[in-house]
């Protein structure tokens, strides 16, 4: 059986108030489900691996086939927990290590 491939995205979240990992994770799952339904959610399988509250960045894991759908969903997010928010994918990689090398990027964003 072919092993399932994953992609990891470094996502910057800009919101009017501080968010927790749980809030972002729930909002992300709800947005994916809203856009693509249950089957899409299962296919994309988004998971927030870690969330850095200081810099508001999240490391999100998803299936390799679903990466474009997840990016589109993130681009269409405008609200998290009833406050205005935006999410930007800073970097995508096939490994978590690949993303951690690029952590400098977050410092130039608001």
């Amino acid at each position: 059986m072919k092993r399932r491939g994953w992609r990891y995205l470094l996502v910057k979240i800009v919101a009017n108030r501080a968010l927790t990992k749980k809030a972002f994770s729930e909002s992300l799952a709800a947005s994916v489900e809203h856009m693509f339904g249950h089957i899409g959610l299962a296919e994309i399988s988004p998971q927030v691996v870690s969330y850095d509250q200081e810099y508001s960045t999240a490391l999100v894991k998803c299936s390799r086939e679903g990466v474009h759908k997840l990016r589109a969903t993130l681009a269409l997010i405008t609200e998290i927990e009833d406050s205005q928010a935006a999410a930007f994918v800073l970097r995508a990689s096939g490994t978590i290590r690949g993303l951690r090398r690029r952590r400098l990027i977050k410092k130039c964003l608001p």
């Binding site: 759908k69 681009a75 935006a86 930007f88």
Partner: protein, 251 residues
């Protein structure tokens, strides 16, 4: 490395802080060229100040004007007045009359459709008759959509399918008037894929297509342009000999 462009930014003219924030964010997200929308009545000092903010952030800036005409005559009048003052002239098509003129007029660079008003879809001709590009604005999806999201998506998808069928060049822009509505270029491309473009077309719609449009217009607005594929390389004077006109970059 791919260069990305966003041809529709609407920073608030009277708010330098928001302009700076928008410029820095656009640069950090990976854009190298942005088109800033100005109003024809904006004063020159304001225009150059806004341009400076974006140039200081490390971006190449093109000036853009949005024309929202309701009739053929109004559109032609606006084009006569505005064409030489802006690098990008975009037309918001609210009726099929305006769309039909905009498609045929070579002075029009970009047309974008008011998807909320075009229930049956607007008639796009074959792109060979037109020099215009069809623009899809992310703001129609993110900024308080006037229709339910699924209807809005379906309409845009339909317009894109029609544009592809008629071989229109498609541009995807943010249409952002606030930093919160800017998005990373590859995320915008992913939305384009969701709307029916393939991966290659989606990436081109935010990179090579808008960049070549701006370059073409800059060449046309320069002093050496004489017509399609004709450039003035010098003017020969009997007494002075060959004189090379200086390059002019409009600001």
């Amino acid at each position: 490395m791919t260069k990305f462009a966003d041809l529709h930014l609407k920073p608030p003219i009277g708010n330098p802080v928001a302009q700076k924030e928008m410029a820095e964010l656009a640069y950090c997200l990976g854009y190298s060229l942005v088109a800033v929308t100005f109003h024809p009545k904006d004063r020159d000092e304001e225009v150059s100040r806004v341009r400076k903010v974006f140039v200081d952030a490390g971006l190449d800036v093109a000036s853009r004007v949005d024309v929202s005409a309701t009739s053929r005559n109004e559109l032609l009048k606006e084009l006569r007045v505005l064409r030489r003052d802006f690098e990008i002239v975009a037309i918001e098509c609210k009726s099929s009359e305006v769309l039909s003129v905009a498609q045929r007029d070579s002075r029009v660079d970009v047309i974008y459709l008011d998807t909320a008003s075009s229930r049956r879809g607007l008639p796009l001709n074959k792109a060979s008759l037109s020099s215009a590009h069809l623009e899809v604005n992310m703001s129609t999806l993110t900024q308080t959509p006037r229709l339910p999201e699924h209807l809005q998506l379906a309409r845009i998808e339909k317009e894109i399918a029609k544009a592809k069928q008629n071989r229109f060049r498609i541009i995807i822009s943010s249409g952002a008037d606030n930093p919160m509505y800017l998005r990373a270029p590859r995320d915008v491309a992913a939305v384009g894929m969701l709307l029916g473009l393939d991966k290659d077309e989606a990436v081109k719609s935010i990179s090579s297509i808008p960049i070549s449009l701006v370059n073409r217009n800059r060449m046309k607005l320069g002093s050496r342009y004489a017509g399609e594929n004709i450039r003035i390389i010098g003017i020969k004077d009997e007494k002075k000999g060959l004189e090379i006109p200086p390059r002019q970059n409009r600001s």
